[in-house]
Amino acid sequence: MSGNDINRRNFLKFMGLGGVGAATLTGCDMPTTVTIEEGKEKVVSYLAPEEYVIPGIGNWFASTCQQCPSGCGVHGRVREGRVLKLEGNPETLNGNGLCMMGQASLQTHYNPDRITQPMARKGGSLVPVSWDEAWKLLQENAGKVDAGRSAWFTGTVSGHQAVLLKALNKAWGSQDHYVYEAINNAVGEAVNEAVLGEAVPAYHLNKAKAILSFGADFLGTWVSPVHFAKQYAEFRTGDRGILMQVEPKMSLTGANADMWVAARPGTEGVVALGIANVLISKHQVSGSVLPQAALDVIAQYDVNKVTEVSGVSGDQLVRMANYLRGNSPSLVLSGESAHNHENGYQNAMAAMMLNILLGNVGKTIDGSNKLAVEELQAKTGSSAALLKFAEAVDAGKYDVVFFKGTNPLFTAPVAMDLAGKLAKVPFKVSLSMFLDDTTMQADLVLPLSSPYEEWNTSVAPYQPVEAAISMSQPLMNPLSSETRSFGDLLLGMLKHHGVDGYDFPSYYAYLQDAMDKLPASIKGSAVDFWADSVQKGYVKATAEGGSLTTKLGDLSQKAVDVGGDFPMHLVPSSNQTMWDGRNANLPWMQEQPDQISKVFWDSWAEIHPKTAAKLGVHEGDYIRIKSDQGSIDVKVYIYKGVHVDAVAVPMGRGHKEYGRYAKGNGVNPLSILSEVIEPTSGELATHGTRVSITKTGEHEELPRLGGSETQVGRRLVSTVSAEVFRRTEGA
């Protein structure tokens, strides 16, 4: 340093003593400003803990994540009676991994906006009532309901909850149980059912050497993302498969693709036909596996025509065909952006055609094993259920409707006027953890316990190899003594209704009994089957599935109309952060930047630079997106990951209710959807809305994570070619 013999410590000491004037301080012996005074904090000991409970040391307990319908197994770290952290259960379908929703499901459990007592509508608003009164109200309004005049409207339901729900419906003389999920694979399932003879086949991403995905965001929101991410890791190692993604707006999967191809919304099927055309005409792939009708349709879609319709260049088509031809077996998937159109069924059918043409059926897409206990199978959701429900409600079919695990007043297009139709139902009951948009309209609100406070069984809808019953156990005491588990409520309703055979003190007792009655082939040789199941978090119960058929349906494509006054396509995209909006009340999820745009706590619209130039807008400028049903104003994010003709607004934000974190944040693109329906499956075509966009002149900085869009020349990440990778690290 300098010539003076002052080192940093002495310098500071001098400053400290002189500057602060604390000459009498005795260094570390100075009492701190933090409360460590005696008697200021309380300590409560355990009453009678189990032997393994040691304060200060965490114990791990198995349970099941319920944040999305995938049903991943988790291990929860429990310390001093509180669950602190979740990790993936390595023995379940998700393996070690757990996605961000799963991690954040803790905040669902600990959420400050949870409902902590029953509520009933009195004089127009919801007021707290006691459980006695709630049961009384339920008995008065639902107990004497005529046969067939009640219905359940729920999210995905499985396991013994499904069994009880069915029994309850039977007691009420109603068959009406609508299962609705805004993010679903229903169109794909319909095509699978028609062609393969099985709605949910097994996808083996890890066995594929090339994957062509038409809008199936299997790393984000498609079917079982964590499970597929695990397979994806395998797919990318060794010989490293090639991933191609065709969609109008870049999804997380698209961001990881070797080739991301922007197709005009709704033209995915045409692209698939074009690729088939190239494969047959240029690569001499034998079309004999396809029916003549299909070959005729394929023949119409030469490169020029496909380019004209979809905007995908001939070069891209040829490259995709080359990759598929050179890397067998491949796997062709279709998802959200291909399905949710008026021609969604044809899109999915065309994608399936490629699987047949390329001989993938039986290799990378295969017969799926089933759960051995049929009645516990998951009932998966669709939006057709929503449409049917709205119709029935409008016709005045129900006196009582129960809502659970879904928020249709947020996710249904305003055009449907679901709120108006629901006014025709005299008594609406919502079983919910939160005062979401739907629950706010209910006449009776029954507070649910969180998935980490209750006993339960559930069944993951997608588990094609080893099917299992997932066990949930409470990871801690309920935060509120007034919440009840869904199972307990179902059991209570059955008892109130005087149904025989449900005389159990609790759902826990019912579950133990029901599990005990499982066939010996499932129970196996465990000394204590119940304890063993709860400890592991699952019970393997696989029934061999059959093989697949290949009955290709009609491939002819419906032309996408020009749009007239509404030249743009609205893409209400889904992502893991918000899912269908259910994660909007979790601060961790709101704070998490979107993977693609890096926006947090707000909504944004994605447009292409060319579109932006035409409008004369820059990042953060507001645009007005107008459909025939209304308009929303939203800030833009401009990048080259969205089709020129599309404007993408991620769904999940724009809640009017749903607690302090969700309320008033962003806009809901679903609110301006036209009521377009995919006719074959009856699904709501959520991507089928045409819009116009205009500049509003307003500007507000887009709240997004700082930093540059590119690496501006720094070597932060480089790109190595797959050829080099295979040479140096290949199998």
């Binding site: 757990l98 090639i242 080739m259 991301w260 704070e591 190595v720 140096t728």
Partner: protein, 283 residues
């Protein structure tokens, strides 16, 4: 003192300097992150929030750059002038880069701390001692990776309203206003793992300690381990990629020149303990 001398001796100097101070490390904790497997899904980042009591600061403060994301996912688009795609669309998708404190062995944040609140531990970690920190923010200014986060406000009441605060991990502190914080390589897990091994009377084994990010990763793209344990998966990965701790430029052999392993901004001679493996694309 010539520039050459500074460059060549800086790393040695930093490692033997009293502030950085350990001639013999007990462990050398490192990460190896494969960007070929990383999908940018952000599970690691949320896992970090859950494990490390990270405050959520809200829209305005986050937008001002006051967020507490110890592990943040960088996303870059290919740039035309660098030989990337100049096409109409981002045909090769995005580049994701999970960035957490790089635990540099010649950390630039350490020597500038006026109160030695940040220093190197005997297990190769870049420590941040909260109760020592006076909030000068020199360290943050000096971090070339921008991976240190300052508590401009007290977030306890706003970030964890009852009962969210019950989720807080008691193994680590909740930081208050005026304190710098950053990724610790889950030091509480390292300490617990070591204590556990010690109480079982054995050496720490590979896999005893896993950071929250590595554990949550659905594709297992993040590998955590001790470089001094040659049998650890992380050490093997580093060796296989011919990346070493110490030099500011990796001397890979002829075959190795095609390997993907590198450290971010290595040429700054910070000697980071995080090795990345480049992303891969077909063309």
């Amino acid at each position: 003192m010539s520039l050459k001398n500074v460059l060549e001796n800086w790393s040695d100097y930093r490692k033997t300097h009293e502030q950085g101070g350990h001639h013999e490390y007990e462990h050398m904790w490192t990460l190896a992150i494969d960007l070929n497997k990383c999908t940018g899904c952000n599970a690691c980042s949320v896992a970090c929030y859950a494990e490390n009591n990270l405050a959520t600061v809200g829209k305005e403060k986050l937008h001002k750059g006051q967020g507490m994301h110890w592990l943040r996912m960088e996303r870059y688009w290919d740039e035309p002038q660098m030989g990337g795609d100049d096409a109409e669309y981002h045909e090769r998708g995005a580049s994701f880069l999970p960035m957490m404190c790089q635990h540099c062995n010649a950390a630039t944040c350490e020597p500038v701390c006026p109160v030695a609140a940040t220093y190197h531990t005997p297990d190769g970690l870049n420590a941040q001692v909260y109760n020592r920190c006076i909030g000068s923010r020199y360290c943050s200014n000096n971090c070339p990776y921008r991976l240190r986060y300052f508590n401009f406000y007290s977030y306890y009441d706003t970030s964890w309203p009852e009962p969210l605060n019950q989720q807080l991990n008691p193994d680590i502190s909740v930081r208050d206003k005026g304190v710098m914080e950053k990724c610790t390589f889950c030091v509480q897990r390292i300490r617990t793992g070591k204590d556990q091994a010690a109480s079982e009377g054995r050496e720490l084994r590979d896999g005893d300690v896993v950071t929250a990010c590595a554990q949550s990763c659905p594709t297992q793209a993040i590998v955590f381990g001790d470089m001094l344990d040659e049998e650890s998966e992380a050490a093997k990965l580093w060796a296989k990629q011919q990346v070493e701790l110490g030099p500011y430029e990796q001397k890979k052999d002829k075959e190795g020149s095609e390997l993907r392993g590198y450290r971010v901004l290595e040429a700054l001679n910070t000697d980071p303990c995080v090795m990345y493996l480049d992303r891969v694309r077909e063309a």
